[in-house]
Symmetry: C2
């Protein structure tokens, strides 16, 4: 009696999803089945490897709690989060500010801060720095009252949200508005590299594959303005380690900037931003 | 400044795994990245879809406990468990007994039972049946003292392991040996269809995609004998519902048998098994 072949089995599974009432869900699930089956056939996945994958995914799900999202971390280190960002937000215009991943440390509702003021609320070392630049439209027009919602880590490597009771909750984050000339300016400290959480299953995967958990030093920003598409982006320090091996594949060459000492010894960094019109 | 393309991002991730010290792990992870990225690009996975997938996988991991393995269930309903079985155990010889998945209800160390004896320890309805046949080598030689480690569900649909305190722990499972002529015989009740657990994330997926959770009625067996490869297999009831739509893609045409009434009204089912030599 004829045996089911591997391809026939894949076809059976594809056919089983053919009745899904939602057209998009059907297409996504069928594509997922095709690609996962192709992977399994290509590598000739062994029983023991399948079981190891089951255990890994189980532990990854179980490692998630309010403050930890290990499944997103897995997506990050496989480059999937950055790929989804590219698929959804990449645009051909090379003048536009490039997007990158949001990351797990964004907290909505940061305090509004004045032009040029500091978002350092807790002295814990770090090199003082001022970051300034313009926000413009694609035609070069300065955008007044654009909002930069920024956040970064402390000199110890931690974000405020990771250290409740140590750093004030709003330390090193804030919302700044551009002036009539489209300029923004903020005072902070230089961000530092930090490792993604590596004490869970994803950390084990990184170690087993000879990878490090470090992210290159960066400041996050969500830049928004009326009549424009908001952009989720980073500003990377050109002097940072790990720019070529960021653990989550977030670095874009267009987002790397020099921090240079100013006349008063404070580091200065200039970073202009360009937004796409909405609609 | 040139933007990273989707393909370049994929290449970056592949390169990052190139230093994995274990050659096999490197190959598997690189293939996984290629296929997952190809899936993501092909379907143009939306931000919200990615987040839904993150939440689904998180819930799937969290649904696992001692008695429930939702990640394996996910693998089952995507046909991956059956594909891994095919990849590892399929053989060209059409005389050999075909393999299928182990399933979650196997309990090692079932009681040894005499030739022809019953494994029904708890009367809860069901149609009495006798199952018999031979175990042979590929050359047709009967195999003496081959072991059939069998398990199945009760007429209520549940396996003993699912109903501690209701069914005796060893109800409807047992180990039988073949005689000098290679024959085995066991008394039981007719197995019935049952749904896979569908009150978790995988159940939601089945409902969202218009699929049912039912498995066709079957009896499990692990058949082993000195000098031969053990085989993990099922025996399906030809009269069962869901043979063409088994939720976990376990049905193989070569494993479907008729249960026919015998002279005393007891159902009879004949099923011969053929093992491959070891080594």
């Amino acid at each position: 009696m004829a045996r089911v072949t591997e391809q026939e089995l894949t076809d059976q599974v594809l056919a089983r999803f053919a009745a899904a009432p939602d057209e998009r869900l059907r297409a996504v699930m069928q594509a997922l089945v095709r690609h996962l089956h192709a992977f399994t056939r290509e590598v000739r996945l062994a029983d023991a490897e399948w079981l190891a994958a089951v255990r890994f995914l189980t532990a990854t799900g179980k490692a998630c709690d309010g403050a930890r999202q290990e499944v997103i971390l897995l997506s990050d280190v496989l480059g999937l989060s950055s790929l989804v960002d590219l698929v959804n937000h990449a645009r051909d215009d090379e003048n536009l500010t490039e997007t990158t991943i949001l990351g797990p440390f964004y907290v909505p509702g940061s305090p509004w801060r004045e032009f040029g003021s500091s978002m350092v609320e807790y002295a814990d070392g770090g090199e003082p720095a001022v970051i300034r630049g313009s926000v413009r439209g694609v035609d070069g027009t300065p955008i007044e009252a654009a909002v930069l919602d920024v956040w970064q880590n402390a000199a110890t490597g931690y974000y405020a949200v990771q250290q409740p009771g140590v750093q004030p909750a709003t330390n090193l984050r804030g919302r700044y508005r551009t002036g009539p000339d489209g300029r923004y300016e903020l005072r902070t400290i230089r961000p530092v590299p930090y490792p993604v959480p590596d004490d869970g299953p994803v950390g084990e995967l990184l170690r087993a594959t000879g990878r490090h958990p470090w992210r290159a030093a960066h400041l996050h920003a969500i830049v928004s303005a009326d009549g424009h598409l908001p952009v989720v982006t980073h500003l990377f320090d050109a002097a940072s380690d790990h720019l070529d091996s960021d653990a989550v594949f977030g670095v874009k060459a267009s987002l790397v900037r020099e921090f240079t000492p100013g006349p008063d010894g404070v580091l200065e960094c200039e970073h202009d931003l360009v937004l796409h019109p909405a609609g």
